[in-house]
Amino acid sequence: MKKVLITGAAGGLAAIVADTLKGKFDLYGVDPRPFPTGREFPGKFFQADYRQRKMADLFRVHGFDAIVHLGRVPIAARLRKTQRFNLNVLGTRSLLDLALKNKVKSVIVLSTFHVYGAHQHNHLYISEEDPLLASQTFPEIVDAVELDNVSVTFSLRNPQVRTVILRPTNIIGDRIKNQISMFLRGKMCPVLLGYDPMWQFIHEDDMANSILLALEGKKSGIYNVSGEGVIAFSHAIRLAGGSPVPVPSFLSGAVIRGLKFAGQYFPRHLVDFFKYPVVVSDKNFRKDFGYEPHISTADALRGLKIETAPESIEGRPELPTEANSKD
């Protein structure tokens, strides 16, 4: 059985991906965070920063065939900007270097469609060749853009390592606890008054399945991945069982601060996504990897309210501080 290393293995998406991959691959998980108690990784788990020497040794000892790089620290993790940048950009870089040195055959990198940025001149559909405008209006997100860039440069320079960079739309589902699914689980969801852009979602199972397809496929490149439909944001909120609460644009800063005060963090770069549509085309991924979403957007949104099953994932564990300081 081929050996696959999953980064960000303590996170919610990794658990779903690992469930999909187990039995088909020999799984290894790595994460700078400790593994959360109450669930088990279906394989071997190691706690390590991707830039540590321990990481290099893992590669030497186990000889991975493929890497699934899910370990991007989101803005919501509330790390210092430089910490987040180092973990995401330098961490990815050293991971890719290790992959090259140890003759890993395939690398799957999970980027995000956020790198395109929500811009008023966005056209429809956005393809993989379109420029990454996100840091133009929201410089905070530069680490996500750079992670994507580092991976793209790597794939161009090293064609011997099959590199697939996936840029999925909003991942939702009843198990995942990322920013957007937590937002949509709320009863009252702030939206911008007068704006109702089109959004795309992908169900967590379809996402896990896309990663499986990317692992088993032959092609390399950058691919947008999305679910079946496109939906107006306010309708998405209603399908998920919440009510949109319109907030005038000039008050959005105050509302974000208010939410922060109430203990709910809201990434500011998403405010632009509340205004302008970012609709991507995943026709290349469908063509090259035979991808087909199985769960409709409407069903995925309705499923968000389903009572979380007892074996599901706990909240995101905190990053240990010492892991961040070691370079």
Binding site: G194, M198, A232, S296, D299
Partner: protein, 281 residues
């Protein structure tokens, strides 16, 4: 509450056949009830319900040459006038309720429109898209129909003294048509030029304020109930290289301009000075 109002509006002004026509005009609906560009059948029906009375009883629109409209993808090119795009509204309504199969025309709106609250949402729900070449190309490749006014704001803002004089045309639409192998349908709209007669654009003041024009309407802010004729010419299909130099494309622009001019002249000759009663047929 808004939903109930929408439903009331739709039931009051649209027959069942018209409702079904609006539904059949939408090809790419997802399970979510939206197409990728943001069109929603209910909002579109409500918007047609609110324009159909104007179309039938206020402007008493007469269509001429509907049989010229090709069935597949098509680029609708028309003269532009009237200070506010009433011509766009009437052509869109005609294409939805007069054609079989019905079709939703995608208008290309100004690039700053998406930044306007409410307006951006309404435009998107009714099939209006940002004037971007990628948008138009993607739509035509999916066999949708796109409506372009190559005169842009120069056309819509012109004064009553320049009525029925075609302003400068852009060249982008010719390249777009050639690249996507789309027939161009020349359209002449007669009657909209007199509905809000403007005496001046107040150019210097408008420029200072950063807006394209400030119309000085001779008859007040309510559009006049002129009789409107929409004349559809024979479709023109340009073959060849979409990357040829501007000098070549300019010749093709002239061909389209002449076709529109011919429709306008024929319509004006038939209508004469009877702007409130005469049809341009």
């Amino acid at each position: 509450m808004i939903r109930a109002l929408k439903k009331k509006l739709i039931d009051a002004y649209l027959s069942n056949e018209e409702k079904s026509k609006v539904e059949r005009a939408l090809k790419n609906l997802a399970s979510t009830g939206f197409d990728p560009w943001g069109v929603n059948p209910e909002t579109l029906k409500a918007s047609i319900a609110s324009t159909i009375w104007l179309y039938r009883h206020y402007y008493r629109v007469v269509n001429h040459g509907l049989e010229n409209i090709p069935t597949g993808r098509c680029l609708f090119i028309s003269n532009h006038s009237g200070q506010v795009p009433i011509d766009a509204m009437l052509i869109t309504t005609a294409a939805l309720i007069e054609l079989e199969p019905p079709r939703l025309l995608r208008g290309m709106v100004e690039r700053w429109a998406p930044s306007l609250p409410f307006v951006s949402t309404l435009f998107s729900r009714c099939g209006q898209i940002t004037g971007d070449i990628h948008n138009a190309k993607n739509l035509l490749e999916r066999d949708e129909s796109v409506m372009v006014f190559p005169e842009g704001v120069n056309g819509v803002g012109k004064t009553i003294f320049n009525r029925y004089e075609l302003q400068n045309f852009g060249t982008g639409f010719i390249r777009l048509a050639m690249e996507t192998k789309t027939p161009i349908l020349p359209i002449g709209v007669i009657g909209c030029e007199e509905t809000l007669p403007s005496l001046s654009k107040l150019g210097p003041l408008a420029k200072k304020l950063g807006i394209p024009y400030i119309p000085v309407i001779a008859t007040g802010p309510i559009p006049l109930p002129t009789k409107v004729t929409i004349r559809y010419g024979k479709p023109i299909l340009f073959e060849g290289n979409a990357d040829e130099p501007d000098s070549e494309v300019r010749k093709k622009v002239e061909t389209v301009k002449n076709a529109i001019r011919a429709e306008l002249e024929a319509g004006l000759a038939a209508r004469g000075e009877r702007i409130f009663t005469g049809a341009g047929v």
